[in-house]
């Protein structure tokens, strides 16, 4: 395996984050300073952002495939989201974190952010897995560092064991995929086929292809854990409840981004629908998971009195919504091997971004009024917040309304995209099989939106309609408040001016799709230097 300089350069932002995190880990043992390490962390995010901008010239968008790395628009969007997740969580935790642990905490967050970014650009099974573990391992540390009581310990243990289990399922699935494809690359070129090309090869061995559905199911199971899809959701409420508000933001967003990216790259791109035998299609699995996940998530959330438990179930429900996008994208409406995605990937990208910012906003807002001694936990503690902390209450209300999908906030456009995708399959007579299923899916999703509104409104009602209990809340931490306000501003801006973000999501889908559509005509060969290098290596 060789590594091109181009690959190294492309991964510069991730490297900056990981190197900085390592330096912080080491440095913090010698020198303790809350604002020093926070400042260092924020500086590294800024540097990573600059490198991200510099490394992404618009002309190269979608064309830059260097071995294990794939820098299309989809990857870029998710990398930015990963960076934002890290930055917001760092700011959210700024006041709350223990003075002696601040270095470890910000360092772990940075590594998780780098993990999201690695997953986003991975075009190779091992890199993808590496990225996923880069997210999981610091999360164990963060969960444990957040608080030190029995609940926190239980949460960490639960998360740790289930996460390991899901990783092993995923690896098992990957190994089948590797066995069938003979390569770890997800997509390649005509000369150097990846799994996608191998599975499309008409001369492939049908006996081997029988393993593809098994690989698919194992991978879905492994990733469903990251997405908190039912029935792999059991850990979420306990883990969320047992940790801090700031960590909830990271937990709700980081694994979701990773899960979405991996689902798109593996299930939609690497495994073409034609390669699946035995009458099993990806969309069937996704539809059933989606129906169950959103309903269970929303219905269970109705009874919660603990905010973080409620947010956990809400995040489960949103996983169900995301799976609509996957289901829509997985239905074949083009010719064989030419996946079209039906707007499913556009919806996924858009929804992940707006969901991410809304969740981060809530987490940062709640974190800003929590102290190490007192973590805001129950809905009753929010009573009267609109009077005592109007800005924080406003941010939480805006983010909750956005999660509920109300216009004119960003969440509405996410729902619109998902519904357009599902309804266009439900009314498309050319794809008879899924018609009924997508009708059921669309109606269930619509009713679920109303159920979801019920518990979001309860939280908003507590903040705005109830009188405060009189006990003093701490003044909002400035850094966390800044992060929360920025998230809310993003939610409002994207809701009022959705054009840019929608176009970005659409371009992402286009670039992910192009890869599949243009094979096997043989003309596509966009990385000549790389190909030449490979040939040179081979000869």
């Amino acid at each position: 395996m060789f590594v091109e300089w181009k690959t190294v350069a492309a991964l510069a932002p991730e490297m900056v984050l990981i190197i900085a995190a390592s330096l912080i880990f080491v440095g913090t043992t010698f020198y303790r300073s809350r604002w020093g390490w926070l400042g260092a962390a924020i500086g590294s995010y800024a540097l990573a952002a600059i490198l991200l901008i510099a490394g992404h010239s618009p002309a190269a968008a979608g064309e830059l495939v260097t071995g294990p790395i794939n820098l299309d628009e989809f990857a870029q969007t998710m990398r930015w989201l990963g960076l934002a997740t890290g930055l917001v969580t760092t700011l959210a935790i700024s006041r709350q974190a223990d003075d002696r642990l601040i270095g470890e905490i910000v360092g772990s967050i940075m590594i998780a952010a780098a993990g999201i970014m690695v997953v986003s650009s991975a075009n190779e099974l091992v890199t993808l897995f590496l990225g996923l573990e880069l997210i999981s391992i610091p999360t164990y540390v963060l969960l444990f560092l957040g608080r030190r009581d029995a609940a926190s310990g239980e949460a960490t243990m639960k998360y740790f064991f289930l996460s390991i289990l899901s990783s092993s399922l995923l690896l098992y699935g990957f190994s089948f995929l590797y066995g069938v494809g003979g390569t770890t690359w997800l997509t390649g070129t005509t000369h150097f086929p990846g799994i996608h090309e191998k599975l499309l090869d008409p001369n492939g061995d049908p006996a081997l292809f029988q393993f593809v559905p098994m690989a698919m199911i194992l991978i879905v199971a492994g990733l469903a854990f990251k997405l908190t899809a039912v029935p792999f959701h059991f850990y979420a409420p306990d883990v969320y409840q047992g940790t801090t508000n700031a960590n909830v933001g990271l937990l709700a967003v980081a694994p979701k981004i990773a899960g979405v990216v991996a689902l798109v790259r593996i299930l939609l791109v690497a495994i073409p629908t034609t390669a699946l035998s035995g009458g099993l299609a990806t969309w069937q699995l996704a539809v059933v998971l989606s129906l169950v996940t959103m309903t269970v998530g929303n219905v269970c959330a109705l009874w919660q009195t603990d905010i973080r438990r409620m947010l956990a179930y809400s995040s489960i429900a949103h996983a169900g919504y995301l799976l609509i996008g996957l289901a829509t994208g997985a239905v074949t409406t083009g010719t064989a091997g030419a996946e079209v995605f039906n707007g499913g990937v556009t919806a996924l990208v858009f929804y992940t971004v707006v969901y991410g910012f809304a969740s981060l906003g809530i987490a940062a807002a709640l974190s800003s009024i929590s102290t190490p001694e007192r973590e805001i936990s129950t809905l009753d503690e929010l009573a009267g917040l609109s009077k005592s902390r109007p800005v924080i209450a406003g941010v939480v209300a805006i983010c909750l309304f956005s999660l509920a999908g109300l216009p004119p906030l960003a969440g509405f456009w996410g729902k619109l995209q998902l519904f357009v995708g599902a309804v266009s399959l439900a009314t498309n007579p050319e794809v008879p099989a899924p018609q009924l299923w997508f009708t059921i899916l669309a109606i269930t999703a619509a009713l679920n939106a109303a159920i979801a509104a019920a518990y979001y409104l309860r939280a908003i009602g507590a903040m705005y309609f109830q009188a405060g209990s009189g006990d003093q809340l701490p003044a909002a931490a400035p850094a966390a408040r800044l992060a929360a306000v920025a998230c809310a501003a993003f939610v409002i801006y994207t809701g009022a001016f959705p054009g840019q973000m929608l176009k970005l999501a659409k371009r992402s889908e286009g670039q992910v799709a192009v890869r599949s559509v243009e094979f096997p005509s043989g003309v596509r060969d966009e990385v000549p230097q790389f190909a030449a290098q490979q040939q040179a290596d081979g000869s």
Binding site: N342, L406, V420, A446, L447, A453, R458, Y464, L502, K503
Partner: protein, 550 residues
């Protein structure tokens, strides 16, 4: 011209922002800004309305790309536009929204002491939503405003309402949202069908394009019925049609006065407006097919609302149920599916906004004085509060349709519409029963309103507490009179010269019912229901009157 309409829509939004900025300057500044902004909006709105060109399809249109997504490869793009403009259907409701908002600000002048900045900015946001709904020419934009109105009203009811306000606010929100999510699916299905029929490069969301597209390529009947029911879920809850009305009395009773005024005056009409804008022109076959059910529901609403109103002891609750009854007239006229009925329906929307808006404002003023809304605790107020009683009587007469006031032409047209449908040619005989049943609503309406007036305004003076136990009771102040006078002026104007209002809306409404008045759908409308079961009466298909005699 284009920018003027756009400015009127965005002015309240700017006002809300201004209130946010000047929130620290105290209540006087805040309500001053609110009043200035609403008056300015009203002024500019009247300028827009005075120049209204009924024949023009493109009056005051602004059209900019908004949520557009380009098409890539094989997948369609979306062409969501921020497109506003007025036509005969929306024009008067647009004006009414601007007018009632001034009343709403004036009636909240003294009543709102808790967090006035939030209150008035919510009120202005609500105005932004109301104006936007009636001006939207893009399906998604319509839906955005439609849903957006929920948020400010949710806060208005929940923060400044009466005792059960939390429950009322959440019930109102969830009821409406549950329905409108299905409506959303229905609207998307319409867009997608239209796209699949004319696979252009991008999905069209313009309401005019969609209407034209669906009339050129009608949906199959089974699809139409499913989509109609989806749209029905949202619009019927909003109206509210019997039996989906249960959220309304609760919301009305718990809402602050300004909230009730806007809820009754403007927001309920969005449902009727939605039927006229989407269901009837886009899904005419389903409308015709489901017509008996729709008319029966309307008639049931008229009678049920009126009967329940008769039994109420709370003034606000009484007026809330009278709204159910009056909105029944609106839908009855609209589902008469002829020019008379639809014109009556739209006029009745405006009328109900004026009279019920006025009545809710007056009940609020009484409540500020006596802190009760119980009819039993009040009596003979005409002696003590002559000015208030005068306005109360005017709005009562307007509400029951006294000739010379606005209620009369509205109810007359609606009833003329349904009678024309039932008796004016071959038609399903049950329509005749519906027409007669709905006629009884006129009598019942006069009954409950007049008995309310008789008990509260006349007879021996009765006050909830002895003199001295509460602050001295004064008659209406100039501010309160200023809140009511514009409504009375409009009521008299519509009552005396309804033509001024009917003519501008005629071309649009004629176009809306045109698909039903011609071709196979007209024949379907004029058919008797169980043709197959009565083979003997086959000639009856041609001549409707013959079979009734049999």
């Amino acid at each position: 011209m284009n920018t003027l309409l756009l400015t009127t829509i965005f002015l309240p939004l700017i006002g809300a922002a201004l209130i946010g900025i000047f929130a620290h300057f105290g209540r006087d500044v805040i309500r001053g800004i609110a009043l200035t902004i609403t008056l300015l909006t009203l002024l500019m709105t009247s300028r827009v309305l005075l120049n209204f060109e009924p024949q023009s399809q493109n009056y005051a249109v602004s059209n900019v790309e908004w949520g557009a997504v380009p098409a890539t490869g094989l997948t369609a793009g979306l062409d969501v536009r921020f497109s506003v403009g007025l036509d005969g259907l929306g024009v008067w409701m647009y004006g009414l929204s601007a007018l009632l908002m001034v009343t709403a600000v004036l009636v909240s002048w003294e009543a709102i002491k808790d967090r006035p900045a939030l209150f008035f900015s919510m009120l202005l946001l609500l105005e932004f939503g109301c104006l936007g709904v009636f001006a939207a020419r893009d399906l998604i934009l319509f839906y955005v405003f439609f849903e957006f109105t929920l948020i400010p009203l949710f806060f208005l009811i929940g923060i400044w309402g009466s005792e059960e306000r939390r429950y009322a606010a959440i019930k109102f929100f969830l009821f409406t949202l549950a329905g409108s999510m299905l409506t959303f699916l229905g609207l998307i299905a319409i867009v997608i069908w239209n796209y699949q029929q004319n696979p252009a490069h991008e999905m069209q969301f313009g309401i005019a394009e969609l209407t034209a597209g669906l009339q050129a390529h009608p949906l199959p009947l089974s699809y139409q019925i499913v989509i109609f029911l989806a749209l029905f879920a949202g619009f019927a809850i909003k109206v509210p049609l019997f039996p989906l009305h249960t959220w309304l009395p609760l919301a009305h009773v718990q809402a602050p006065t300004a909230g009730s005024v806007i809820l009754a005056g403007v927001l309920l009409k969005i449902g009727v407006y939605g039927f006229l804008r989407f269901s009837v022109p886009m899904l005419p076959a389903a409308t015709v097919e489901l017509l008996p059910y729709l008319l029966w529901l309307s008639a049931a609403g008229i009678v049920y609302g009126a009967l329940v109103a008769l039994a109420q002891g709370d003034m606000k609750r009484l007026i809330a149920y009278s709204s159910v009854s009056h909105l029944g007239y609106c839908t009855l006229g609209l589902f008469s599916l002829n020019a008379l009925g639809t014109q009556g329906s739209v006029l009745q929307m405006v009328n109900h906004g004026l009279s019920t808006g006025g009545l809710f404002a007056l009940v609020g003023m009484l409540y500020e004085r006596y802190h009760t809304r119980e009819i039993n605790q009040l009596g003979g107020l005409a002696r003590k509060l002559p000015v208030l009683s005068f306005f109360f009587l005017v709005f009562t007469f307007s509400s029951i349709g006294l000739p010379g006031l606005n209620g009369f032409p509205g109810e007359l047209l609606v009833l003329a519409g349904i009678f024309q449908r039932a008796f004016g040619g071959p038609a399903d005989p049950q329509y005749r029963l519906i027409a007669l049943v709905s006629l009884s609503g006129v009598v019942l309406g006069a009954w409950y309103m007049l008995s309310l007036v008789a008990r509260v305004l006349f007879g021996p003076l009765k006050e909830p507490h002895a003199e001295g136990e509460h602050a001295p009771i004064h008659d209406l102040s100039w501010r309160e009179i200023a809140a009511l006078v514009p409504l009375v002026v409009m009521a008299v104007w519509i009552g005396l010269r309804p033509g001024d209002f009917l003519k501008p809306m005629e071309p649009t409404l004629t176009a809306i019912v045109k698909p039903v008045e011609t071709g196979p759908l007209r024949d379907r409308l004029q058919q008797f229901e169980p043709i197959a079961q009565y083979p003997k009466s086959e000639p009856a298909v041609a001549d409707g009157f013959a079979s009734v005699k049999e």
